[in-house]
Symmetry: C2
């Protein structure tokens, strides 16, 4: 019963189809939640039967028809209730970190490659989030926007995502450099 709130939170700003929601879960929403499209479609169906979202059919001629969902008053009340309960500690699952943990006991060639890839991926996210933040705040400066702007929630979570990816990039580059240096030292 936790994906449910992530979906409601994601739908709060825009009316989205399941497909669009799935894409949102691959970029911005991925800063705080992870889910596959199948889960999202299933969760949307449950949310609708529970009356927390409503869907409306949109007929398209050049594309398959779609259903757009928005949060109902009951959905907003559910989020309100959720915000008041204690949050579970965050959790991370990262295979790459598992691999690095074993780095002094196994061959590191493949791990170094993956660290480089991950650093590049993080760099791309950094660019994405940077421009997304600019877009949200428009021409205001950050202080002003944070105090008086709307859509402050998505802005703040995006800031967290940016810092996370920055940390990721720095760490991946550092770790790759260290492992490379050890490989040449070891010969």
């Amino acid at each position: 019963m936790a994906l449910r709130h992530a979906v409601l939170a994601a739908l709060l700003d825009d009316e989205l189809s399941g497909y669009q929601l799935a894409k949102a879960f691959n970029v911005g929403v991925a800063n705080f939640w992870h889910a596959l499209p199948q889960q999202l479609y299933a969760e949307l169906a449950r949310l609708e039967t529970d009356g927390l979202v409503t869907g409306r059919e949109v007929v398209q001629d050049t594309r398959p028809n779609k259903r757009l969902f928005r949060v109902t008053d009951a959905g907003l009340a559910e989020l309100e209730r959720f915000a008041a309960t204690a949050a579970k500690p965050s959790f991370v699952r990262d295979e790459l970190l598992v691999k690095v943990q074993t780095a002094d006991r196994i061959g590191t060639g493949a791990v170094i490659e993956q660290l480089v890839e991950r650093a590049e991926f993080a760099a791309a996210k950094i660019e994405l989030f940077t421009s997304l933040l600019e877009k949200i705040r428009g021409d205001r400066d950050e202080e002003d926007f944070l105090l008086h702007g709307t859509r402050i929630g998505p802005y703040l979570t995006c800031l967290r995502g940016l810092a996370f990816e920055q940390g990721n990039k720095d760490w991946c580059e550092r770790s790759a450099a260290v492992l490379r240096a050890r490989r040449s030292a070891e010969v």
Copy 2:
């Protein structure tokens, strides 16, 4: 089949009981993986039948007896194989971020409290990781240790954990301050 590698990685440095492993998954290992004790006991049993770890009974008189597990050669080979496969992207799940995402649509009192709590929790982790890093590297300086030390894997993942918690703390404090300022502005 992914918890499996996290368990192997955690057992690589020390021979641990299920109970000790569970505690490890609450601190250092939590930087890259999350699991409950029941899962760990079950996974250890599977790993043992698969020959990737071996357990030995240790009789204690003041405490209940325990079984200590260590990674076998087959287990190490499995980690080697795992390191060579492509890593899935990391994923995060954080209820607190979900709540912040909704911050401009709901009452923020409870969320601010939780941000403060989380910041304090992060501060405690920062201290823990800082002293853990010092303990691992002893009196060497970091550059020297990273190039020539042993147990480099745990050191690197701990560095990531430290940076993550630092980012967490900064973001929580900043966000709490922003939401507080908006509350007083709104009156």
